[in-house]
Amino acid sequence: MMQPDTQRPQTVSDDVTLMPPSRSPWAETWRLLRKNRVAFTGFIVFVLFFFIALAGMALTSGAHPVLDPAQVRLQEKLRPPLSAPKLDSLKPEEIPPLGRYVLGTDDLGRDVFARMLQGAWVSLTVGFVAVGISVAIGILLGGIAGYLGRYYIQLGHLIYWTLVVCAIFLALAQSLPAALLCTLGAGAGWLFYYRRRRHPDRPVAKGLRWLIWPAISVDALIVRLVDIMLCFPSFFLILTVVALLKPSLFNIMVVIGLTSWEGTTRFVRAEFLSLREQDFVAAARALGLSDLRIIFRHIMPNALAPVLVSATLGIASAMLTEAGLSFLGFGVPPPHATWGNILSDGKDYIFDAPWLTFAPGITILVVVLAFNLFGEGMRDILNPKLRERN
């Protein structure tokens, strides 16, 4: 029924060959980023920080690091920045490889420059992993709330899953009788739903009808969860959790990630709600594409721009949180340097050795400011309403 390639006379008035060269959305974003000087500066600092942290990781780790952040030289303590080491008093392995103490030494004679490099890696991993966790949770929950939010959860399902979770936790806490009780309840619930799935047409017994009452929509459940999480002052929540758990880099990353997903969830939910009603999604459904393809190929790429912006801002705030925790002594345990604990160690010598405070302080300021400027710039650039002005 289809005739092969009928050549129709050219009816398009403005020919495509007369248009400016094609630009993909990413190329356009890059062009606008270069025009926005403040955001571009932030971006440069961001890239520099990234490579410095990678280099710092390479230079300060291993059995015999090039720059050893843990090398104690008590005879050389509190030397100011750029001072030359007294070579005659040092053993060969204690001599700093750069020939100078670039950022001075601390109260144990450790090279602050090496410690800052080691701390950069901590800040980078905490920032990226914590935000990675929170963005992953945010996209998942926000996507579910936005795309499948209109479905209702039955009261029975709520009770069933609560019992399952309780049973697992009680079993982990080794209070076996209570765990057994919860397991029994969950088992009864499983039986109820198993029978309903086998015979979907059979009416529910009158006494059990409350079990299938549609209690709450998926959307409402997730949004309420976000509201509850926002009620906690998150820094103190993190402080409590870290105080209870063993302080380690891994724990801090996970805890910061698990307490900062609310903003992303809201963003993603809002984007999904508005994109779901767009005509191109209706067209995709009309073509008969699967739900998964519509979500990941059609909706997600359009929802990602604001998520990237909030992730950039999130990295900055995760780094600040980590520095705050380290400063208070709840961060990465001491022999390992982080910007927060260098700052914390330095506060006792603030008048004798101000570089111990200023080096990490100014670095945190610059990096966090750069991330924030970059994030805010990206928000303007990715906003289509502001974009048309350029």
Partner: protein
């Protein structure tokens, strides 16, 4: 119209009510009757026009046919097969045969996909999986809608509204449909572009043997492209007639009003002859949904529900016969 042939699409007594919840306790109010018992038939290779003011349920009808919304009741038969009760899995193969062209060419294309990628989604569904074959098919579709091949690797934001609408048509054609629902395809476009798109649609119909449901609020356009016209008001078909008949012999007061509203030199005289609105309190209680607006409101209209009645072969009107 060829009455002996079976219609490609037959809609009977289609209904869709949207619940309205208001107030602090979200109590359910009287629902909005977006589509309230609509009957339509579209014959193969013909165009059915669906005309009415904004918010009268035209687009909802199209979305119900495409199953983007689920109807509350009614029958939709495509090619003789009942499709309103099929579940999504069994409806999927039929989706290829019914496609839609959207009103707003700015939101109907995914801004993060090139033209080729957008069309490729349909080409893949149509069963062409090999890359070079896909590419060949995309270029063929683009030339069918009068777009140069070089446009394939550009993004939607680089095109004008008319060009985007052409891409939207190419995407609809990518699965080789038999019926295309055109949801006000030209009302967002420049007047000069409108004619191009209408002619393109007519040419494609000739070439590919398509059937159209053409939704519009512009009677002039409808008269140009449609074989049969249905006039819709508040979710109901008020008048249904062959296109020529509806212009020569309009029966329903609402049709007259629409004709009068159209900027057409021939009808200017008629518009002035329509008396002002009736302010009869009985009109508010009338079973006829048009009664409060009706310039020809008669005492009988206050209680007797109007049913579709035959005026001439193929010409139906939902209005009581005039007394005397």
């Amino acid at each position: 119209m060829n009455e002996t042939q079976a219609p490609i699409l037959a809609v009977e007594n289609l209904k869709k009510y949207f619940p309205v919840r208001q107030g602090f306790f979200k109590r359910e109010q009287a629902p909005v009757r977006a589509v309230d018992g609509v009957d339509l038939s579209i014959w193969p290779r013909h165009t059915l026009g669906l005309v009415g003011e904004s918010g009268c349920g035209k687009t909802t009808v199209a979305r119900l046919i495409l199953r983007l919304l689920d109807p509350d009741s009614g029958i939709i038969r495509f090619n003789g097969q009942e499709i309103s009760l099929l579940d999504e899995q069994r409806f999927k193969p039929l989706r290829k045969q019914i496609q839609m062209i959207f009103q707003d060419p700015y939101s109907s294309l995914n801004p993060r996909m090139t033209v080729a990628q957008s069309i490729a989604e349909g080409v893949r569904i149509a069963g062409i999986r090999e890359n070079t074959a896909q590419r060949r098919r995309i270029e063929q579709l683009l030339s069918m809608v009068g777009m140069p091949k070089a446009s394939a690797d550009r993004y939607p934001h680089e095109f004008s509204g008319g060009q985007r609408q052409r891409v939207g048509i190419a995407r609809a054609l990518s699965v080789a449909p038999r019926l295309i629902l055109c949801d006000e395809p030209i009302s967002a476009l420049d007047v000069s572009i409108q004619a191009q798109i209408i002619n393109l649609l007519k040419d494609l119909q000739q070439e590919l043997g398509l059937s159209y449901l053409f939704i519009s609020h512009d009677l002039n356009v409808v008269s140009y492209i449609c074989d049969h016209v249905c006039v819709m008001y508040r979710g109901q078909i008020m008048e249904s007639a062959p296109a020529a008949e509806i212009f020569e012999n309009p029966q329903h007061p609402y049709t007259l009003k629409l004709l009068a509203a159209a900027p057409n030199a021939e009808l200017v005289g008629k518009a002035e002859s329509i008396p002002p609105l009736a302010t009869n309190p009985a009109a508010a209680q009338s079973p006829c949904s048009f009664a409060p607006q009706c310039p020809e409101f008669a005492p009988a209209c206050a209680h007797e529900p109007p049913a579709l009645r035959v005026v001439a072969p193929g010409h139906f009107v939902r209005c009581l016969p005039k007394a005397g």
